[in-house]
């Protein structure tokens, strides 16, 4: 690696790797879920991560965001080794993920779901809520305003006060995206944002991701099975198979790559649809 390990957090220049995944291994019992996977996500990109079911994409996300620890290998964020750090530590360094199956706070309203996310909330300190109500109310008003903005960006205004557990599958997906927006993260890993979302909403979702990328400079890495969406949004695209990177490049080249077809169709025909 030729990265400057002393690089400051947001000092990574456009087009340089903000996230480097280096030789990650992880096995569960006899299953090598991730088997020596290495690739980089460049700043300002929307990097696609595709591959047949069981290729290890979600496990890799889970490792990169600190939810489980790899057996070996390392994760570099802005050139600094962050392997094995807790999710909340990585959150504060600007790296967040969403979930393939939406994980909402079902007993909180849509608005509250978003308001729960931002860091540095005075009101999350019990003593401040008791003895410094002024500071708490001020920050709470800021957080509320940000959450309202996010709701209208996502078109979720109408379900603002609905309990998140009552939202539709697609709305929950949008809420997942909203949560990553509320975090203020620079790098967002989206795990199948399109799964279970109707085609119209899917187009909107893609546009929203693109806008966030262009307007706010958020770097995305997206796991997705919808190839149209990948082709529309992502460059480059990384193909994973059997736990490691098979190839990477732009979508047109990937489509022509015989090995990719084999990986999808080969022994896993039944799952490739």
């Amino acid at each position: 690696m030729s990265l400057d390990t002393n690089a400051e957090t947001s000092a990574t220049p456009e087009g340089q790797p903000v996230l480097s995944i280096q030789g990650i291994y992880k096995s569960f019992g006899g299953v090598h879920a991730v088997d020596g996977c290495s690739f980089e996500v460049n700043k300002g990109s929307i990097t696609g991560l595709i591959g047949p079911n069981g290729a290890g994409k979600t496990t890799l996300f889970t490792i990169v965001t600190g939810f489980i620890k790899p057996d070996s290998g390392s994760v570099l964020l802005h050139g600094k080794d962050v392997t094995g750090e807790e999710p909340h530590e990585l959150f504060h360094k600007g790296l967040v993920r969403t979930f393939q199956i939406p994980h909402e706070f079902h007993g909180l309203t849509t608005l509250e779901n978003l308001m729960a996310v931002p860091a540095e909330q005075d009101g999350e300190n019990l003593f401040k809520t008791w003895f410094m109500p002024g500071a708490v109310a001020k920050r709470e008003a800021e957080v509320r305003a940000l959450a309202e903005d996010t709701l209208s960006f996502l078109g979720l205004d109408r379900v603002r006060d609905e309990l998140a557990g009552n939202l539709s599958g697609g709305q929950k997906k949008l809420l997942e995206l909203g949560r990553s927006m509320m975090s203020g993260a620079e790098i967002v890993l989206l795990d199948e944002p399109g799964a279970g979302v109707n085609p119209t909403l899917l187009l909107q979702l893609g546009e929203k991701i693109q806008r966030l990328n262009e307007e706010r400079g958020i770097t995305f890495c997206i796991v997705e099975h919808n190839m149209d969406m990948i082709a529309r949004l992502c460059d480059p695209v990384v193909v994973m198979a059997a736990g490691s990177v098979l190839t990477q490049g732009n979508m047109d080249d990937i489509r022509k790559d015989q090995r990719v077809l084999e990986a999808y169709l080969g022994s896993q025909t039944a799952e490739a649809s």
Binding site: H88, H103, E104, F105, G107, D122, E140, N166, R179, S183
Partner: protein, 321 residues
């Protein structure tokens, strides 16, 4: 006032004092389970630590147990909160990562271990004979004034605990605790240090239970092993919270009033029958039966307790389960 009136008033004061003490502990449990989703079944343990701490600090020297510091009431009460918080910190450090059902097993086990320690460490606790002559605030007032002043003290403490917890629950702090209860994974993905926050809620809730223990010790002027039995503390308080409405502090207080009234009155009803022999031995179990029956009836009619948790989205925003 006639003797009968004094009798009724005295009973009412006793009843309300007990309701308030149970109310304090119920609020602690509600923070643990109702708000944060921590399955704490070790209430008796935290109650006992609080009660014994207060007893040891406030009694006079007897030679039968450690202590004899003759400290004022409030020193014992604050110390009770501190010692139960320390116990909660130790327990929490080891167990807080456990999923709810495993946390339940761990906490009930620790409470039982603690009971055995209290029973066997005679030098410290006077074993099964317990600690007596614990000073009761305002007792010197005599008549009804003494108990009434003590009731006012306990209710005052209850109100302070209630107001502080309500403030916390309806702040971003409460929001994040409810978020953890709803979905721990999402809370972690939202950058929350879930382990630390769960530990925080566990310690605060447990120290409130310890405060309840101190109040109980002063009220009865005695703390012995019977008071630390899980039936009287742990399970009765759980029933109060579930009947009243887990997650709703007012509901928990209502639950304490209903369940303690039933518990207390059922004893009088049973005594009125003046049974003899085998029946007299067995009939106290009827009280447990009645409490269980009430729990079932209430849950049939009100699935989330009599006063369910209030959702900010209004009445229509009900979870579908």
């Amino acid at each position: 006032m006639s003797d009968q009136m004094i009798g009724y008033s005295s009973y009412l004061i006793t009843l309300l004092t007990m309701v308030a003490i149970y109310g304090v502990m119920g609020l602690g449990l509600n923070l643990n389970w109702g708000v944060t989703g921590l399955f704490n079944v070790g209430i008796a343990g935290f109650f006992a630590i609080g009660a014994y701490t207060a007893a040891i600090l406030t009694t006079e020297e007897t030679g039968k147990h450690i202590g004899g510091f003759d400290m004022p009431f409030w020193v014992g009460a604050i110390a009770a909160m501190i010692t139960s918080a320390i116990l909660a910190w130790f327990v929490g450090k080891i167990c807080i990562r456990l999923r709810s059902d495993y946390l339940a097993i761990a906490t009930i086990g620790i409470a039982e271990i603690l009971r055995l320690i209290l029973k066997n460490e005679m030098w410290a606790t006077n074993g099964a004979r317990g600690i007596s002559n614990i000073p009761k605030p305002f007792e010197s007032l005599g008549g009804l004034a003494g108990p009434l002043a003590f009731l006012a003290l306990v209710v005052g403490i209850l109100i302070v605990v209630y107001v502080l917890l309500e403030k916390g629950q309806h702040s971003p702090w409460g929001r994040i605790m409810r978020a953890i209860r709803d979905n721990e994974l999402a809370a972690r993905a939202s950058g929350k240090n879930v382990e630390r926050l769960r530990l925080e809620a566990f310690i605060i809730g447990s120290s409130i239970m310890g405060l309840g223990g101190a109040l109980s010790a002063h009220y009865f002027k005695f703390i012995g092993l019977e008071a630390t039995e899980p039936l009287l503390t742990t399970f009765l308080i759980w029933v109060m919270m579930i009947v009243g409405g887990s997650g709703n502090n007012r509901g928990v207080l209502l639950g304490a009033l209903i369940i303690w009234s039933l518990w207390s009155m059922s004893e009088m009803v049973i005594q009125a029958f003046s049974l003899t022999g085998e029946f007299a031995v067995r009939v106290p179990y009827m009280r447990m039966f009645i409490i269980g029956l009430v729990l079932n009836i209430v849950l049939q009619k009100y699935g989330q307790g009599i006063l369910p948790e209030r959702h900010p989205g209004g009445k229509d925003a009900q979870p579908k389960r």
